[in-house]
Amino acid sequence: MEEIESESCDDEIVKKIMHVMRAAPHGTIYTYEGLEMILIMAAYDQDISVAFIDDGVYALKKGQNTEGIEMKGFAKTFGALDGYDVEKLYVDQISLEERGLTEDDLVVDVEILSSAEIGKLMTEQDVVVHH
């Protein structure tokens, strides 16, 4: 079984795909759909990274309780992405600072980078998908 799996992996094309989260989590469906897309792509063993920019950083904010608005809360799912081998989570430092947030306000370990650093990572991708 293991051998078959590794053989099939050899035939697979692994692309570097960056997902860019730019919208706040509950006002539109974009962030949630983006998260679903990440999970699907991760199931195909793609090289996934996620960048949180602008209001996208709010998706990672601690203490979100969506019970009262009867929406699914999915901050915890971002926290569980490492279970799907999605470990490259980047947060734009300016976006965080503009919103008065620090790394301690986030539900998951992330790498906080400058915009230029994230911009450079974008150029290294096969595909960049904005949500």
Binding site: I53, D54, G119, V128, H131
Partner: protein, 97 residues
């Protein structure tokens, strides 16, 4: 990497945000409502001039025409659909929404 921007800068932060992420030499193309960014003498002209120092900037002519934008910030090149296709052929695309 080709950066495309398709939203008006007056209602969406894509233009201002993307500017921070551009690598020197990356082309920027304004399409659809994004072309309002390049109308001459608007509040984004200064920011656009900063980008023009390190990056080629294009706007899609048919979208400019459709919106009656005749005067565009100096240095911005108006291109046709063929030029759009050429840019996409030459570069990876980063489509800011």
């Amino acid at each position: 990497m080709l950066h495309t921007i398709n939203k008006s800068p007056f209602g969406n932060s894509s233009f201002e945000t993307s500017a921070r992420f551009l690598q020197p030499g990356d082309p920027v193309l304004f399409i659809e409502d994004g072309v309002y960014a390049v109308q001459a003498n608007n509040k984004f002209s200064a920011a656009l001039n900063e980008i023009l120092k390190n990056n080629p900037v294009y706007a899609l002519g048919p979208d400019l025409n459709a919106r009656g934008i005749a005067e565009i910030t100096a240095g911005v090149k108006s291109i046709e659909y063929e030029g759009f296709v050429e840019l996409v052929e030459e570069h990876q695309v980063n489509s800011w929404l």
